[in-house]
Symmetry: C2
Subunit: 411 residues, 2 copies
């Protein structure tokens, strides 16, 4: 048997759309799970209709292209390697197919608004009666409990409500969003953790669990030291540009021709930095001898450091600081990231075929596991309903699966 990952043999029924849920099931798929995407007939996953779109050429634009000739690059990047079946969960015939899939699945992931699955007759309480082994994971904006539970939410909303926007940006500047949909992505990651933990536990107990992850909760969980700072000092934290709030120097600094990020967070690294910048006096300056002192006097320290850094280019400083083993780096744009030697060596850019046969590059899997292949390509994303016939043949009419992977004592 070929090892395809620690989740080989796990079947995930994926009712999710757009980002948080599909990101979770993408991670599960990267770990070897089989993911069957159940989509709305006609339109499918909303992400199929979100640009940018791939058309005839790799750099083509979508202007004037008929919708049916285009493929969403966004959808492709999140749904590679998944299977698709379009089911109307209000239609009796489709419900029968869905029931068979439910009987065969190990995990169900959904990101409907709370209550939707109940209205369809597929809420957790109903499902667990018929499928006690099924792990039911729900990702939603606000979670399945609490006063906001019924409200709709998207990434922007939880980035705003969850506090991360209040910490991101320039002091006194306009509201600033984190440049990727961290509200969705972190919720997807926490859900993937919960699914894996529940799979582990089920090997022993034979029973599934409901996992209820809210995007808002996930934002609170990543506020990191901001909560501690607020409580310890009584001051409400604000945005700090490119500076770390309590470790100094830990920031982007200007050089002769651009910027360099320096993270010299302890006294030893700070001393090395001062020597490398030919300012050994700074390490003896009483304002800068401790991290606390450097943080309290960060404005003056920045002026001193940028005065020295103006003498050379970012490239030159990266060489000198790198030789001194001072943690530092450039600010790369996406093109530079995708050409970076380490990113490529780590197989973090992999290729996937688009519907028109072009190769398209997407992010790889950051969970590198010994003994598990880390392929440089991924299978394509499915067309809507592409696997209906095969899935119906495989599952519909077949008896609900027993407990083949459940070797635990609780079953």
């Amino acid at each position: 048997m070929t090892e395809s990952g620690p989740l080989a043999g796990v079947t995930v029924l994926d009712l999710t759309r757009v980002l948080a849920g599909p990101y979770c099931t993408m991670v599960l798929q990267d770990l070897g799970a089989r993911v069957i995407k159940v989509e709305r007939p006609g339109t499918g996953d909303d992400a199929r209709h979100i640009g940018p779109f791939i058309t005839g050429t790799a750099t083509g634009t979508t202007a004037g292209t008929a919708p049916e000739a285009r493929e969403s690059a966004y959808f492709l990047s999140l749904n590679r390697g998944k299977q698709s079946i379009a089911l109307d969960l209000k239609d009796p015939a489709d419900r029968e197919i869905f029931d068979h899939l439910l009987g065969a699945a190990d995990v169900l992931v959904e990101n409907y608004r709370p209550g939707t699955m109940e209205k369809l007759g597929y809420g957790w309480d109903a499902i667990r009666q018929k499928h006690p082994r099924l792990i039911y994971a729900a990702v939603s904006g606000f979670g399945h409990t609490g006063p906001y539970a019924p409200r709709p939410a998207y990434d922007m909303v939880v980035q705003g409500m969850g506090g991360i926007m209040s910490l991101t940006g320039t002091p006194g500047g306009p509201p600033t969003r984190v440049g990727s949909s961290i509200g969705d992505i972190t919720a997807g990651l926490f859900t993937a953790i919960g699914v894996n933990a529940a799979l582990y536990e089920r090997r022993q107990t034979g029973l599934g669990r409901k996992i209820d992850v809210a995007m808002l909760d996930s934002q609170v969980a990543i506020l990191e030291n901001a909560i501690a700072r607020y409580q310890a000092t009584g001051e409400v934290p604000g945005p700090l540009g490119a500076r770390h709030p309590s470790i100094t120097p830990f920031e982007a600094f200007s050089t002769r021709d651009g910027y360099v990020v320096i993270a010299a967070g302890n006294d030893e690294l700070f001393a090395k930095l001062c020597d490398t910048l030919d300012r050994p006096d700074l390490k003896h300056d009483p304002d800068f001898t401790s991290n606390d002192g450097r943080t309290q006097n960060h404005e003056r320290l920045k002026r001193e450091l940028e005065g020295a850094l103006a003498a050379a280019t970012t490239h030159e400083w990266l060489g000198r600081m790198g030789a001194a083993e001072i943690p530092c780096g450039p600010i790369n744009d996406v093109a530079q990231v995708m050409a970076d030697a380490q990113v490529l060596a780590r197989n973090m850019v992999v290729s996937v075929p688009s519907a028109n046969g072009q190769k398209f590059s997407i992010a790889g899997n950051p969970i590198k596991l010994s003994g598990i292949e880390d392929p440089t390509t991924r299978p394509p994303a499915p067309a809507l309903d592409e696997h209906r016939e095969a899935l119906v043949r495989e599952f519909a009419g077949a008896p609900a699966r027993g407990a083949p992977d459940n070797s635990g004592s609780g079953d």
Copy 2:
């Protein structure tokens, strides 16, 4: 037996420091694992020395406080509920204790620079010979392979190198960091996913794996649609302030007295928004009839929407838009987040005792599991070496543990 989580019975030996590794083991602890923190004698985890510090009063500052009288709020928030033993891994007597702990552990997590564990004789190849069941998880800046593997890295460095900083901030503005250490935190989350998946697999195979997660890789993995946008259009994505790059309106807008986030990402929600703002004409404007059109004409759309939003306050608009079920929200600061009705209802602010007995609030666990208690309090963080005696008594001299939780067929 009290259920304390799906990872009840799992023992994690935690050699990590500061953030990425401790965040991972915090998540594992929240899921029921026992976490034994192995710290450097004398100073312990670097985070013990990173402010803000808790002193005699909840809002006290650290000025003039002797180091031994203070407790790092940062350390406390990440290490609640863990046990601590200080071991010098170059000292023969301490190595013997460590060997006994290794024999008893299910998971080892470390975030040293690559090569450090090998120099100590505890690299993966050495460990797997003696402890084939042990899951070995390594979190590092650049990973254990590739040309940058030996380099030191911190959050700021990988935020710069990994592309997220190029997407975050105001167009044309200064470099902007994501306001929490997303480089560390996402690496911690991916590592936690890998550990759980490996635990699941080990139930069947009886064998551990090495998990190698790089902070830089994790940043690439969360670039989301930026990679797709770059390839589909050939344009290098830049920062967009508070706007989503390809969904419109999906942004923070100014009101009479502040800001409101609106995420009306599809045609139906956009129509509702136009009606709620008393600008029904906008939904028929040919520039705005599709998401693509709205994205291409986002500047004019923003002017039109902010013109209407200037008529009322953020609070008033939240009420009106909420009634129309338009996804929207405020931009909350940390104090507002910690007082938010939904955040509190979801138990996302929990309390932990500090060393001086004060109650201190920290973020709760966002992975809500049916049938698993979600306590409103957490046990305290350990003092350095606090559990040495108990751990030595429990483990040293005891034979290496068998395979009590391994009920799989492969063992």
